[in-house]
């Protein structure tokens, strides 16, 4: 059963940066794009051992630091090889300045 987890305060999530968190055992990164917040899985599915948040935010994309797989921040959709699977996207909400992710 998915539940909301508090993972950050709102001012910690900045444009152009990935904010790594863990919720219900899942590695997730939270992003801010044009004001709105998004949360997607933070482990590159290519080899399963690299955190995407160590990579590059390139507009609305995050690029893996190791082998440059690329994912859409809004949806987790894989955009570039070598990864071939999407990363999960999680619902995000803000309440009283706190960021919650539903996992």
């Amino acid at each position: 059963m998915a539940e909301w987890h508090r993972v950050a305060s709102e001012d910690e999530i900045k444009e152009g940066e990935a904010f790594p968190v863990t919720a219900a055992g899942a590695a997730i990164a939270v992003y801010r794009l044009e004001g709105a917040l998004y949360a997607i899985g933070n482990i590159c599915p290519h080899q399963g051992d690299v955190l995407l948040s160590d990579g590059f935010v390139d507009g609305d994309k995050i690029e893996c630091p190791m082998h440059q797989s690329c994912f859409e921040i809004r949806t987790g959709k894989v955009l570039g090889p070598p990864a071939q699977q999407d990363v999960p996207a999680y619902p995000v909400k803000v309440e009283d300045g706190a960021v919650f992710v539903r996992v």
């Binding site: 080899q47 160590d54 990579g55 630091p65 190791m66 082998h67 440059q68 090889p81 070598p82 071939q84």
Partner: protein, 409 residues
């Protein structure tokens, strides 16, 4: 040009073959695709073979580009355990060693490379190229055993590092004066020499194997400097040779690699070639080169697959590769054949460091030790035509992206 009529047949089932097949499908080719490979595995990535597969960290299936059943579900026929014997370009067919005949509309040669043999080596020496090779080597790497690695290149040193993790005693023999001489400058090779020695690998440089003979279960080696010793297992890792025999036999021009144009096309308009088996003119490097990297296998195959479907995109990716040894991730880019200056940013003995190779003020090659993130900037830098300040390169307080001008991310 329109997509070719009839099936697209890919000879070889390695990483480049897999990316070619997947890309053809993804880009809308609706016809039959047939992949012919002499191993029993679907297309897989080789980097784990000299690392995680040896230590047991990476299971075999994890190396597969796609699970074996993905291909059938996507209309791609995998003919595994099948050997392409010859090609008849006038009849548009491939003959297999078991007598089967496979017709093609367009043909892609993804025959890869094989480990180079050491002349005069007795039977029982090992090579590392396939999953089968890796599993055979792994079965020999049990604690207390000894391993001799002939050739301290990327593969040899990765195996040495994995073997040390497994408690094996390792001797590495290198004919050059420093390790990995084919892909890194002396300054970097000597650093890796120190790293391996500090981890207990006995690295001998400037010497080669004069003779080798079986001695019971072990192998006795005599070196050109007169030294001799015994090893339980011997790995020959002295580079690779491209598999061009089938291309040569059907009259396609080869020169240490199947010759292709910037689109991946051979001298025959219906025959293409991708990956390790290819020698191509690289527009950025300004010379003909054969690339043997994971990155090339992927990117070249993707580019050529699109070209088969008529996209007409020249291949000009900046060469890039990496190696993992112990806790070090080394990424290298550029494949320069000449440089007149080396600039370090940071000291590899005390943390992450970058090395730049400059030629007439331009960055022509670069390396990042435990700093993989910056590779995208180094690769962009290599693509620039303008000179870059060596003072800025050496200064850790200057972000690399600020040296790239307006186009940087």
């Amino acid at each position: 040009m329109n997509p070719p009529p009839g099936p697209i047949v890919i000879v070889g089932a390695g990483q480049a073959s897999g990316w070619c097949a997947m890309t053809l499908r993804r880009e809308g080719f609706a016809g039959d695709i047939v992949v012919i490979g002499d191993e029993s595995h679907p297309p897989y990535e080789r980097p784990p073979l000299s690392k995680g597969l040896l230590t047991g960290k990476t299971p075999v299936e994890k190396t597969y580009l796609r699970p074996a059943d993905w291909y059938a579900a996507n209309g791609i026929t995998l003919l595994l355990g099948a050997r392409a014997e010859s090609i008849d370009r006038s009849l548009h067919i491939v003959r297999l060693s078991d007598g089967r005949v496979v017709p093609y509309g367009a043909l892609v040669l993804a025959t890869g490379a094989r480990a180079r043999d050491l002349r005069g080596a007795p039977s029982g020496v090992m090579h590392l190229r396939t999953i089968g090779d890796a599993l055979a080597l792994r079965s020999r790497l049990t604690a207390g055993q000894s391993l001799a690695v002939i050739g301290a290149g990327l593969i040899g040193l990765e195996v040495a590092a994995a073997a040390r993790e497994l408690g094996i005693s390792v001797v590495a023999i290198e004919a050059g004066s420093y390790p990995m001489g084919r892909v890194v400058p002396r300054e970097l090779g000597e650093h890796f020499l120190d790293v391996h020695r500090s981890r207990g690998v006995y690295v001998l440089t400037g010497t080669s194997v004069k003779s080798m003979a079986r001695s019971g279960e072990r192998m006795a080696l005599v070196l050109s400097d007169g030294r001799s010793f015994m090893a339980d297992t011997v790995l020959v890792s002295i580079g690779s040779v491209p598999n061009v025999a089938i291309a040569e036999a059907c009259g396609l021009p080869c020169d240490d690699g199947i010759l292709v144009d910037e689109f991946g096309r051979t001298a025959d308009a219906w025959v293409w070639a991708v990956g390790d088996c290819v020698r191509l003119h690289h527009p950025l490097l300004g010379r003909r080169i054969r690339l043997e990297t994971w990155h090339h296998a992927q990117e070249h195959a993707i580019a050529v697959a699109k070209n088969i479907l008529g996209r007409g995109t020249p291949y000009a990716a900046v060469p890039w590769s990496w190696t993992d040894q112990y806790d070090i991730n080394l990424q290298i880019a550029g494949a320069p054949d000449r440089w007149d200056e080396i600039v370090w940013r940071g000291d590899p003995r005390s943390g992450p460091a970058l090395l730049f190779q400059l030629h007439e003020g331009r960055v022509v090659g670069g390396a990042a030790l435990n700093a993989p993130r910056v590779m995208r900037f180094i690769r962009q830098m290599i693509g620039l035509k303008s000179a870059i300040s060596r003072l800025a390169l050496a200064d850790r307080s200057v972000p690399l992206r600020t040296m790239l001008g307006d186009k940087s991310a």
